[in-house]
């Protein structure tokens, strides 16, 4: 009887303890699920690149909303090559962040050497390729799209631009309609297909990533067939450094296009031909070259431009990414502005900048001479918005950007300055009215290298493998011996 009572008591207390234990564990699980649902994350890394930029998160949200599966397959870098660890780790971290931020985007990191079959299935032949797929469409990103190198020797730097590249790929896949940007040709303009430093093939490729197509517009050839005009599908027109005068008839065609709410990008050079249409918009391109005491060393003709407040430059300014210009022409909007035209400066020199007219640069040095040079700060790029009250636009709002330097959009400098590609792409996004996509095309994270010689490495090895453990052993021996002596 007593035995039964003891057993009963044990059973009661035991069951009670078990139930309480389960309840506590269940409560912890529930609280965890709640905390997981309402997570708070703080990025303490120096470059703030460990979590995705708001723009990328928004884009992932849009992809999830469309409910069309998107896969991102990243292939490993070649083992044994310099920076392969950095490259793989950056890509893996980025994929993990995408997984975390999206329910629908599937990511996969593939070891190129071990999973050749996957590479073959996707038709991938290069290490480090990233394939972004959505339904039947895909965008391939190569090493050069994902990493940027600069400097030489000990100053050599490598930066990861993968988030921006994949972000652009998403834009390209999300956009159902491919918008066409026409580049005017026939007057010695920059060649949209050109691969030399003066060509715009790199710009065309960057626009292609945005699902914008850069096509040639030749009014002379069109004239042979029917009445020439800017095609109906034109989302914007580029007039890049015409060498000779654009005939009045063609200027009128561009004006007629603007009147319908069109967008034009003008790029001019110092001493070059200035389209007369710019004068009608109140834009002046004074004689001279823009210089600044603040320059991109060692180039005396490359001032470091400052960003002025505008949607095109906002993120670039926030993230302090420099746009590099070379031998830029000054660009000024009429003061006071023409009625119905809102002008904003995009790039400007510092207070120490000036318009060089004396030719001192030819001698290899530049110095402000108040008698002949123009005082700064000087604008190098401006943006105009034209309303119907301007008398030039009949419907909607027309947009015009005038660049005082063509190098910003040519192969020569497009990928040289940290902000050049972003500036060029953002300019087109703004011209085309894609404000929602205005962002920095790249939030780079840099590899933090150690400057270790083989001699230093020997010292480090000795320090970490011998001294530390040895000290612990000596301490232990001292304690043991003192206790033994008691």
């Amino acid at each position: 009887m007593a035995m039964n009572r003891t057993l009963q008591r044990r059973l009661a207390v035991g069951s009670n303890a078990t139930i309480v234990t389960f309840l506590v564990v269940a409560a912890v699980v529930v609280v965890y699920l709640l905390v997981d649902r309402f997570r708070v994350r703080v990025d303490l890394s120096a470059d703030q690149g460990s979590v995705l930029a708001a723009d990328t998160v928004n884009k992932l949200g849009l992809l999830d909303r469309d409910a069309v599966a998107v896969t991102v397959t990243a292939f490993s870098a070649q083992r044994g090559k310099k920076e392969s660890y950095f490259k793989d780790r950056q890509l893996q971290d980025l994929l993990e962040e995408m997984d975390y931020n999206s329910a629908l985007v599937e990511t996969r990191f593939v070891d190129f050497d071990k999973e050749r079959l996957t590479a073959e299935k996707l038709g991938v032949t290069d290490y480090g390729t990233v394939v972004v797929q959505r339904a039947e469409r895909r965008v391939d990103l190569q090493d050069r799209d994902l990493f940027r190198r600069s400097g030489k020797g000990d100053d050599r730097k490598i930066e990861f631009l993968g988030e921006a590249a994949i972000n652009r790929a998403f834009s390209q896949l999300m956009s159902d309609t491919r918008r066409v940007v026409y580049a005017l040709v026939g007057h010695g303009e920059l060649d949209p297909d050109g691969r030399d430093p003066d060509g715009m093939a790199d710009l065309a490729a960057a626009l292609d990533q945005e699902n914008y197509e850069l096509k040639k517009l030749d009014f002379v050839r069109d004239r042979e067939e029917s009445a020439p005009r800017v095609p109906d599908d034109a989302a914007a027109v580029v007039v890049a450094r015409p060498r000779v005068a654009i005939p009045v008839l063609e200027e009128d065609l561009l004006l007629a296009y603007l009147a319908t709410g069109g967008s034009i990008l003008y790029a001019v050079e110092p001493g070059g031909y200035v389209p007369s249409l710019l004068g009608r918009l109140g834009v002046v391109v004074p004689e001279g070259i823009v210089l600044d005491k603040l320059l991109v060393f060692p180039y005396p003709d490359r001032p470091v431009p400052r960003y002025k407040a505008h949607p095109i430059t906002k993120d670039l300014s926030d993230q302090q990414l420099v746009t590099v210009v070379s031998r830029a022409a000054p660009v000024q909007a009429a003061v006071p502005p023409k009625e119905g035209i809102r002008a904003s400066t995009l790039l400007e020199t510092s207070r120490d900048g000036w318009i060089e007219r004396g030719g001192a640069l030819e001698g290899g040095s530049a110095k402000y001479e108040p008698d002949i040079d123009g005082a700064g700060p000087t604008a190098m790029a401006i943006a105009l918005e034209l309303g119907t009250d301007s008398g030039l636009v009949k419907r909607g709002r027309a947009r015009v950007v005038v660049l005082g330097d063509t190098d910003v959009i040519t192969n020569g400098l497009l990928s040289e300055g940290p902000g050049n590609a972003s500036f060029a792409i953002n300019t087109f996004r703004w011209l085309l009215g894609d404000e929602g996509r205005l962002s920095v095309v790249g939030r780079p994270s840099t590899v933090r290298r150690l400057a270790l010689s083989s001699e230093d490495l020997g010292k480090v090895r000795w320090l970490v493998l011998s001294i530390g453990p040895m000290l612990a052993v000596l301490l232990g021996a001292a304690v043991w011996s003192s206790r033994r002596g008691r």
Partner: protein
């Protein structure tokens, strides 16, 4: 609180008057040094990511060995009954022993602070990432010490307690590795259990409330289980 303090001192004294702490410290520092050196030579980066990632796994095997003695040895020597009848709450006993193990871990980590100093001398490390990585390491140590303590409360054989501790912790490491082999729906279920998944954000410089809570809950649950396990001796 005073009881916890008294027990913490007693347990630490036991650690440091025996050669055990020094053997662990020496072995741990050698392994850490090896991981650090390999990380530096392989990556050439001013980063502790390779070291800290490997140290977390090392703790999975080291910490159960460090905590195996606590309750198993008391039971074997018959001093547990004495301790339980002393005017000290059972909670204070459990927390005191856990804190002593954690303190020893912190001392071991203190020995690795020479590595950030080396990186700062030869490069420009990211101190934010360094801080969160060490915080992650402390979180793992806290969780594994609690699990090791629970294993120690289950048996009176120290070696068995150590092995139970490792077997108990292994799944929390393996699920992170096996995730890719599981069907997607299963992977989603087991993923939150993985220590590696929750440690990852720390190693990238990100403080995530869910990851912090995971380690807090892991520690809390195993301390609670230890409490229950030791308490069960009163009614079994």
């Amino acid at each position: 609180m005073r009881d916890v303090w008294t027990l913490w001192k007693k347990e630490l004294r036991i650690y440091f008057v025996s050669p055990l702490a020094y053997v662990f410290l020496s072995a741990f520092l050698f392994l850490a040094g090896l991981f650090f050196y390999l990380g530096v030579t392989l990556t050439g980066e001013a980063s502790l990511r390779v070291l800290l990632g490997n140290l977390a796994i090392t703790q999975l095997f080291v910490l159960p060995m460090l905590t195996m003695r606590h309750f198993a040895e008391e039971r074997r020597q018959g001093t547990l009954e004495l301790l339980m009848t002393a005017p000290v709450s059972l909670g204070a006993i459990v927390v005191g022993k856990w804190l002593a193990s954690l303190t020893l871990c912190l001392l071991m980590f203190l020995g690795t602070l020479v590595f950030p100093a080396v990186l700062a001398y030869y490069g420009d490390p990211d101190w934010g990432v360094m801080f969160t990585s060490y915080l992650g390491l402390v979180c793992v140590a806290s969780a594994f010490c609690a699990a090791g303590l629970f294993a120690s409360s289950l048996t009176d054989d120290q070696v068995a307690a150590g092995l139970i501790g490792i077997v108990l912790l292994l799944p929390f490491w393996l699920v992170g590795r096996a995730e890719a082999l599981l069907p997607e729906e299963w992977a989603d279920v087991v993923r939150p259990l993985s220590v590696l998944v929750h440690l990852d954000s720390f190693n990238r410089g990100v403080l995530d409330s869910a990851d912090l809570f995971y380690f807090l809950a892991f520690t809390g649950v195993f301390l609670f289980l230890t409490f229950r396990s030791v308490e069960s001796r009163r009614w079994r």
